[in-house]
């Protein structure tokens, strides 16, 4: 991960075609089509319950779509082994911080001799070194978040899914994690993250997915998106206005850009 010379992610592109997901007969993700290429950091944004976490789970293969397909274009083998995910509510094993990290390396059958230097590096880079022998479950929430990132990053994944990685961090730690995310990105890992922090999305992401009520309403480059979203629901969202009663399910598109096809059409 220190070596920026690593080959760019190879299991990409990730293609979702007409993906739907239902639970108990209720459609939670609706007809979602998009392609994530190699390259920039992607931020998935949208109000609570929009389906951002479900979207990440579908991409990561933790849940199977009830319709449509999720396909890794460049994956000959088991693609889950080339990805890692940091959950919105990370699970802490009932072990020490070090043991939590070593556990994921063991799961991927990384030889023992290689584990120690990798663990040491991520402990150092996430600032967790002084908690190394502490029980993971006694860490503060923010420290647990860092451990979750360390634990995912130590796997050197091609693609890293981060579900609100800074949700419970203080401003300094947030800044620090953002730096870390950028350096993971620079190391050649493709990052797809969700966030409610629009400033963060602006700072980190070059690609934005805007979701609302299980639909992907806008897929744009970050700069024009934050300049002026094409979808009026997205516009209301970033303006901090309430959305649910003012607009329909999909909102309306104000102007069409050639760069990305509108997935709801």
């Amino acid at each position: 991960m220190a070596d920026g010379s690593r080959e760019p992610a190879t299991i990409l592109p990730l293609e979702l075609r007409g993906v739907g997901f239902e639970a108990g007969g209720i459609p939670l993700i609706k007809d979602l089509t998009c392609t994530l290429e190699r390259g920039p950091i992607t931020a998935v944004i949208g109000p609570n319950g929009a389906g951002k976490s479900l979207f990440l789970r579908l991409c990561h293969g933790l849940i199977q779509p009830t319709s449509g397909t999720v396909h890794w274009g460049g994956a000959p083998d088991n693609p889950v082994n080339r990805q890692a995910m940091v959950f919105q509510r990370p699970v802490m094993l009932r072990r020490s911080v070090v043991a939590n990290i070593e556990h994921v390396l063991a799961a991927r059958k990384i030889p023992r001799s290689e584990r120690a230097p990798r663990i040491e590096e991520v402990l150092e880079r996430t600032g967790l070194a002084r908690f190394a022998t502490q029980s993971a479950r006694t860490l503060s929430f923010g420290e647990q978040q860092k451990l979750a990132i360390a634990r995912a990053w130590v796997l050197k994944p091609d693609v890293l899914f981060l579900d609100e990685p800074t949700a419970s961090l203080d401003p300094a730690a947030t800044h620090w994690i953002e730096e870390l995310v950028l350096s993971i990105h620079d190391g050649g890992t493709r990052i797809v993250m969700t966030t409610h922090d629009l400033g963060q999305a602006r700072r980190l992401a070059r690609e934005i997915l805007f979701m609302f009520r299980g639909r992907l309403l806008e897929h744009s480059e970050a700069e024009p998106f934050f300049d002026k979203p094409r979808n009026d629901l997205a516009e209301a969202y970033i303006a901090g206005e309430p959305l649910w009663w003012r607009h329909g399910e999909t909102g309306t598109l104000k102007r069409q850009k050639p760069k990305f096809r509108n997935p709801t059409r």
Binding site: L62, L93, A106, A107, A136
Partner: protein
């Protein structure tokens, strides 16, 4: 009452001077009970974890069965093991009947369902919490089982204690398959039963006291050790 007091004093005296018979009986009891618990753990932990994690045909039936087997009457187990191990039985060739080996076999049958059932419950609770993380890191079946068993370690000591408690208290099965032979298969519970029927209250009382103290001691020791470790692991 006077007899009782005398018996009590004699019992204490036997304990204090480490009466040879007493020590032998206690030693054999512990050996049989601990062996049975160890073997049951080796079977019951993975069995319980498998029942918690894997979907297979008959899983519900197996779960209900294991739960029901927790309440097996020891004398019935003793009888069945007796038939199995008797010279005409299917396992007669092993010549185990009336040996400590037979007693261990019977106790393993009694304890394994307890350990498996309590393990299943703990592992299932933990699996609900860990599932997504373990699937996300691509953990295989074996690795998943080992992870959950290790992280459930504090609840699993309770399963071991329950198993030990049943083994140590049980008299019906070991009596039938062991035969309560002096210096060979006489353990605390069978000795107590015999001495009481013979009227030798002193030895019976002495053994009873030791049995109580052992149970209490084992539980207290485990509780203390586990409590401290658990606090450190914040589990």
């Amino acid at each position: 009452m006077h007899d009782f007091g005398n018996a009590f004093l004699t019992a204490l005296e036997m304990i204090v001077r480490l009466d040879a018979d007493l020590v032998e009986i206690v030693g054999l009891s512990l050996a049989v009970n601990l062996s049975a618990v160890a073997i049951s753990a080796v079977i019951g932990f993975p069995l319980g974890a498998a029942l918690a994690l894997f979907r297979f045909p008959g899983r519900t039936f197996a779960t209900v069965l294991v739960n029901a087997l927790m309440g097996l009457p020891p004398v019935v187990v003793g009888l069945v093991v007796y038939i199995m191990l008797s010279r005409a039985g299917p396992f007669g060739v092993f010549n185990l009947l009336f040996t400590p080996g037979a007693m261990i076999v019977a106790q393993v049958i009694l304890i394994t369902p307890i350990i498996a059932s309590l393990t299943r419950q703990s592992v299932e609770d933990l699996w609900i919490e860990y599932e997504e993380h373990l699937r996300s890191i691509g953990a295989g079946r074996r690795f998943t089982v080992m992870t959950l068993l290790w992280d459930a370690r504090f609840s699993l000591t309770t399963a071991l204690l329950a198993g030990f408690g049943r083994a140590a208290a049980e008299v019906g099965a070991v009596m039938i398959v062991g035969g309560n032979i002096d210096h060979v298969t006489r353990v605390m519970t069978t000795a107590i039963a015999l001495e009481v029927s013979k009227g030798d209250l002193a030895l019976a009382l002495g053994l009873g006291l030791i049995l109580l103290v052992l149970s209490l001691g084992v539980n207290a020791a485990v509780y203390l050790v586990r409590g401290r470790a658990r606090y450190r692991a914040a589990a």
